[in-house]
């Protein structure tokens, strides 16, 4: 759907930059093949996630022609593939996007944008640093070092999906396996913390 939205809204002035919070270049390449009109970038060190307060994927941030954030990080599904699991109607976000690009209509004021940002705690920033160190150690083949820093990151940010689920491939754990579903349960018991905006939520 992102490819379609880029085709539809590109001539109207929209560029979709798809930032892969990922190190698996083959998987990124495969995804990008289905979205040839998107700009696909690789963010191994979670730089964009940190600067824009992204704690889960897929997420979107809107930036206007003046470099001004007009919508903060929020879950943004490309389609309804995960609707039964995530309880999100993806079309709601897409319609808001069309209204903004085609008619300049914003659904949030500046102060609402600020209120709904995921501003970091010290613990979350520290977790992100541990994760960055883990990625560097993983590149060196230092498994104990990788695991030490991932464990530190997870203890500091137990409900951040990028930290928790996003580190599973590095630990050779299936991100759709038993440990993932344990995490989801833990996260739900904690009140499903995450993005404040709940665009298209059905629960």
């Amino acid at each position: 759907m992102w490819q379609q939205l880029q085709e539809e809204l590109g001539p109207e002035g929209l560029s979709i930059i798809a930032v892969a919070i990922d190190s698996d270049v083959d998987a990124i390449r495969e995804w990008a093949a289905h979205a040839p009109n998107l700009t696909v970038l690789i963010d191994r060190d979670y730089i964009v996630a940190e600067r824009y307060g992204i704690v889960n994927v897929p997420a979107s941030v809107w930036i206007d022609e003046q470099g001004h954030i007009v919508r903060p990080a929020d879950t943004a599904m490309g389609d309804d593939r995960f609707r039964a699991f995530a309880h999100i109607d993806s079309g709601v976000h897409h319609e808001l996007l069309r209204a903004w690009v085609l008619r300049g209509e914003r659904d949030l004021t500046d102060s609402q944008v600020v209120e709904n940002m995921e501003r970091p705690t010290r613990e979350l920033q520290l977790a992100r640093l541990h994760r960055r160190i883990a990625v560097a150690l993983h590149d060196r083949g230092d498994t104990p070092g990788t695991n030490t820093h991932l464990a530190a990151a997870e203890a500091l940010a137990p409900y951040d999906w990028v930290i928790r689920r996003g580190s599973m491939p590095m630990r050779n754990i299936d991100p759709f396996g038993a440990e993932f579903f344990e995490f989801v349960e833990e996260w739900q018991e904690a009140g499903s913390p995450g993005f404040r905006l709940r665009t298209g939520r059905e629960d």
């Binding site: 992102w2 939205l5 002035g13 929209l14 560029s15 979709i16 930059i17 798809a18 930032v19 892969a20 919070i21 990922d22 698996d24 998987a27 990124i28 995804w31 990008a32 700009t39 696909v40 970038l41 690789i42 963010d43 060190d45 730089i47 964009v48 996630a49 940190e50 600067r51 824009y52 992204i54 994927v57 897929p58 979107s60 809107w62 930036i63 206007d64 470099g67 001004h68 954030i69 903004w100 500046d110 600020v114 940002m117 501003r119 970091p120 705690t121 010290r122 979350l124 920033q125 520290l126 992100r128 640093l129 541990h130 960055r132 160190i133 560097a136 150690l137 230092d142 070092g145 689920r165």
Partner: protein
């Protein structure tokens, strides 16, 4: 070898590594822009005084982890493995975000070319964070 990860940069630095991560003041300055002076760490007209020199300094060297908060930064250091990471403190980052100014970034595309947010100047941008996991 000692490496400091600072944003997208992986910088090899000269450091004295024991239980602490110690760097020369010159190395700290080239990494962060903050210069050690008698009045503290200074950048431009701004100086940050060092109230706990016993922790921050050691025989003319700077303890990166202890110095970071004075520079508006946060550090995690692993001296035994020779890797440290440095980023904006939670407070600095939160202030940056609340300004609503979209922070620039430069990342590699699949073809290896660097692409920056500012390349999309005058366009509306949907920043889409995704992953294969």
């Amino acid at each position: 070898m000692a490496t400091v990860i600072y944003d997208t940069e992986h910088v090899d630095v000269k450091a004295e590594l024991s239980s602490r991560w110690l760097m020369t003041p010159e190395a700290v300055e080239s990494l962060t822009g903050w210069k050690l002076k008698p009045e503290g760490f200074c950048r431009g007209d701004v100086c940050s005084p060092i109230f706990n020199p016993d922790k921050v300094l050691s025989y003319g060297m700077v303890d990166l982890q202890e110095a970071a908060p004075l520079l508006g930064l946060l550090a995690v250091t692993d001296p035994s493995r020779g890797v440290a990471a440095l980023t904006a403190s939670a407070h600095e980052r939160a202030d940056d975000m609340a300004s609503l100014k979209a922070p620039d970034f430069t990342l590699e595309s699949l073809s290896g070319d660097p692409v920056s947010l500012h390349d999309f100047n005058r366009r509306k941008v949907l920043l889409l964070a995704w992953s294969s996991w």
